[in-house]
């Protein structure tokens, strides 16, 4: 508990706008939030930081009445409240701006502002609604064009409409979920100025973000969530990005050495099986998502990739598996230049891939379990011979995979989406491990699994390593990374900051690298 007295600038005796006490929210098999306490004061911008799956969104959904908590209480201005719907939350002055805007594209800005608003005049001509919108826009300092259609607006303008819609309903607490993800730097600057003006009127803002530098710039205090629990609340002035990154990912790390090889394990191969040389990727917006990355993958070795999510991990994974074309640089498989990005080539070469969003991109949810399990091996015997597809052989394969993955499947002909997310994940992991004869690229393979399943998953990775496969293990969990990796690379802003020896690595160094500080600044001995 960090019980706080009234912060400076707030009249003594003023209660926090929002107090959470011991909030707990559970889903079947998952603790989304547990024992979360949070105070948000008038006149503060409060950042909520945490990895994916740390429970930030669930917590905010509890605050805005989308979910009802199983434990704990929500206190507004000193009075206990329960919300059974988002409408009640907005009536109490809590407004949320979601990452994906909830606007009617074909309506004008004024129409969107007035939609579902009980204060909207009963009979309103476009002119009246536009005049009202203009007045609201000026009052809150968010310039919008009331007569423009939402579909003609940029992401930044749409976000302003979304914010105005909330503010018009007299929100005193504005919750923003990753507001800068879709904005240009200029738009981000404008948003931050407006948020500061909103704060100056004695209102409060909760901002969910992954971007540490922005958290440093905009927030007064930071609360960090990890594994559904709050780790702590800090004054931003006392923080720096590296320390935030380390706190976000680094629980009390129990170092278990899973690097030790059992008898008879394959040694680390001297020649790399895959190499990236100065690989860069530029996306459609012209942003460099991967910058000048060079690395060597050796058989019999696990290369861990650490970093705050969204720093190029996705692009790295896709380049390593042929799903994304590089803009410049070279990729070599067994010393041979790979001419074009073609996932089929990489599969043939024995590159397995457990993608980050495996349920969306590695499975066809409406098709049967058997069909999905055959996805990697259907062109090869025994399933695929002479251009045929042997459903029986596919069934045998599916049975094998399910057995290894320890997933009980009542009916292999049922759509795979009927299985739980965790089971789908286990099946995908096992399917990919089967074909990963040379390389396995595993993006967040343990995400969403319980502790026992995580240990099993890490065991899969070390088993593959012992068989001489090169494993790329991308994770946000430093404990897992430190325990199984031989080397750890850290990604920041699309750059591979440095690759360090996992045995010698310490939290401080990795934290600094994750916050964008060069390893050379910190620990010259540990680089490369």
């Amino acid at each position: 508990m960090n019980k706080q007295s009234t912060p400076p600038g707030v009249a003594p005796g003023t209660p926090p706008v929002l107090q959470l006490r011991g909030i707990g929210k559970f889903f079947p098999g998952v603790i989304a939030n547990k024992d979360v306490d949070l105070d948000v004061w008038p006149g503060e911008i409060h950042a909520l930081l945490g990895e994916n799956g740390a429970g930030k969104s669930t917590l905010m959904n509890v605050v805005t009445g989308i979910y009802q908590p199983e434990e704990g209480e929500i206190i507004l201005d000193g009075y206990g409240q329960t919300f059974t719907s988002p409408q009640e939350a907005i009536r109490a002055g809590i407004g949320m701006v979601h990452q994906h805007f909830k606007l009617v594209q074909a309506f004008t800005v004024a129409e969107n502002i007035h939609l579902g608003w009980d204060e909207a005049p009963r009979i309103a001509s476009p002119a009246v609604m536009e005049a009202r919108t203009r007045e609201i826009s000026e009052r809150f300092g968010f310039p919008v064009r009331p007569d423009a259609r939402v579909c003609d607006l940029s992401a930044g303008e749409q976000q302003r409409v979304e914010i105005l819609r909330v503010l018009a309903r007299k929100a005193r607490l504005l919750i923003m979920d990753e507001p800068t993800a879709v904005l240009t730097p200029e738009e981000t600057g404008e948003l931050f100025r407006a948020l500061k003006a909103f704060r100056a009127q004695g209102n409060a803002v909760i901002i969910i973000s992954h971007k540490l530098d922005e958290v440093m710039e905009i927030s007064d205090r930071v609360s960090i969530l990890r594994g559904g629990r709050k780790i702590g609340t800090f004054n931003t002035a006392d923080c720096n990005p590296s320390m935030l990154a380390a706190t976000m990912v680094g629980r009390d790390i129990v170092r278990r050495n899973m690097r030790a090889r059992p008898e008879g394990a394959a040694p680390i191969a001297p020649d790399p099986v895959m190499q990236l040389r100065n690989v860069s990727v530029r996306d459609d917006r012209g942003v460099d998502t991967l910058r000048d990355v060079s690395l060597d993958l050796h058989g019999g070795e696990i290369l861990g990739i650490a970093g705050v999510a969204g720093n190029g991990q996705r692009e790295l994974t896709h380049v390593l598996t042929g799903l994304m074309a590089r803009t410049s640089g070279e990729i070599l498989l067994d010393g041979n230049l790979v001419e074009r990005a073609d996932p089929a080539l990489f599969v043939q070469a024995g590159v397995g891939h457990i993608p980050e969003d495996r349920l969306r991109s590695a499975l066809a949810p409406s098709l049967s379990v058997t069909t999905n399990m055959a996805l990697r091996e259907y062109p090869y015997p025994p399933i695929g011979t002479h251009g045929l597809y042997d459903a029986q052989a596919a069934g045998v394969l599916a049975g094998d995979i399910a057995e290894l993955a320890q997933v009980t499947i009542p009916d292999f002909a049922m759509p795979i989406r009927n299985l739980s997310g965790g089971n789908q994940q286990r099946l995908v992991a096992r399917r990919e491990i089967r074909i990963a004869s040379r390389v396995l690229v595993a993006a967040y393979p343990a995400r969403g699994l319980d502790i026992g399943a995580i240990a099993t998953m890490l065991g899969y990775l070390t088993d593959l390593r012992d068989q001489g496969v090169a494993v790329v293990f991308i994770s946000e969990d430093l404990e897992d990374l430190l325990n199984v990796s031989d080397r750890i690379g850290v990604m920041f802003h699309g750059r591979l900051m440095s690759v360090i020896d996992a045995e010698a690595a310490d939290m401080a160094t990795i934290g600094l690298l994750m916050g964008g500080r060069d390893a050379a600044d910190t620990q010259p001995g540990a680089t490369q």
């Binding site: 996932p343 089929a344 991109s361 069909t371």
Partner: protein, 354 residues
């Protein structure tokens, strides 16, 4: 608040769908009977007449088979395309294109039937493929919505048929309106007026079902339709598969046109597609993505069409027939939707309900 007594499941078991569809059909028949009775017709007499002229007599059965033949192929055309997640709304146009190509061969070349018929078949298939080529390439390479492009080409094909049958290919022998002369060759008849196109169509539908479930190509099509992203991930050349599926779809509809012109009508006529292309969409929707289901779906559709003709002989207008078709399909759609719901076992004690 009232507790929800029903829950919607993402997938519905086939058995439930079948039962609810039968209920839907029976209910719509009752509604139709009621309306007919109110407008002074005797539903019982009418029903007897319809049964006698469709399922109850040899001529009726022959007619049914002739209706089914094009519906099987256009239904299969739409179903195959739907497997990869695309809608071929242009079976009507491809049907005409196939019919035109086959007619062109029959009118332009001279030779024995055993030479001409295979050439006409190939021409019909190629005609249908040609008609879907532009939508196919536009879809595969530019992402242009195939629903619009295939639909619009229907009107062009239909008008082209009118032009040919009133212009360069008009019947100069017997002077039939909007029609070519009788073709010199015909698909041989197998049973009464039912030509060999009918069993061939059934075989094609069964073969397609096998191809989709038992070949690598079929597997790739199914994955591509269920989740294009997963297909890309698996290294499946989705673009090439889209091209091959759409061409196959067009070819099937073109073959339907060839069968119709060479087996049933024996002439190219304006309006001869008789909405078979559009009804193929209905058949595909009734078949719910399964090729084998196309057979019973086409049978149901053929029954409706055939009954419609019988009713027209009883002073019921064509639009009444259309309305009845619509009603039955509407009720079936409701039945399909209801099949997704299942009662929720209430956990709240009864006394607590407010």
């Amino acid at each position: 608040m009232a507790a929800r007594a029903f829950q919607r499941l993402p997938s519905a078991p086939a058995g439930r769908i079948l039962v609810l569809r039968l209920v839907a059909i029976v209910l719509s028949l009752f509604i139709i009977a009621g309306v007919l009775a109110l407008s002074g017709h005797s539903p019982v007499t009418l029903a007897e007449l319809i049964l006698r002229s469709t399922l109850g007599s040899r001529f009726g059965l022959e007619d049914l088979a002739l209706f089914m033949c094009p519906l099987l192929l256009t239904g299969a055309a739409v179903t195959v395309c739907g497997t990869i997640g695309l809608w071929n709304i242009g079976a009507e146009g491809q049907f005409y294109a196939g019919a035109i190509a086959a007619t062109g061969v029959a009118l332009g070349l001279h030779g024995p039937a055993f030479v001409l018929l295979p050439v006409m078949t190939i021409a019909g298939i190629l005609g249908g493929m040609a008609w879907i080529t532009v939508p196919t390439l536009a879809r595969a390479y530019a992402g242009v919505n195939e629903i619009i492009t295939t639909l619009l080409l229907n009107f062009i094909a239909s008008l082209l048929t009118y032009y040919l049958t009133t212009g360069p290919w008009r019947d100069r022998i017997s002077g039939a309106q909007v029609s070519t002369q009788r073709l010199p060759v015909a698909i041989p008849e197998m049973w009464g007026i039912v030509h060999w196109g009918f069993p061939v169509a059934i075989v094609i539908v069964i073969a397609l079902a096998l191809v989709l479930s038992r070949t690598r190509w079929g597997y790739e099509i199914r994955i591509g339709g269920a989740n294009p992203e997963a297909a890309r991930y698996a290294g499946i050349p989705v673009r090439l598969r889209i091209i091959s599926v759409m061409l196959l779809s067009g070819g099937l509809a073109g073959l339907a046109g060839m069968f119709e012109v060479a087996g049933t009508v024996h002439r190219l006529q304006g309006g001869m597609a008789n909405n078979f292309g559009y009804l193929g969409i209905v058949v595909a929707v009734l078949a719910r993505g399964s090729c084998l289901n196309v057979i019973p779906a086409a049978l149901l559709m053929a029954l409706i069409l055939d009954s419609g003709i019988v009713m027209q002989t009883q002073q019921l207008s064509a639009s009444v027939v259309l309305a009845i078709t619509g009603l039955i399909l509407f009720m079936i759609a409701i039945g399909d939707e209801l099949a997704h719901y299942r009662p929720v076992a209430s956990t709240t004690p009864k006394g607590k309900a407010s």
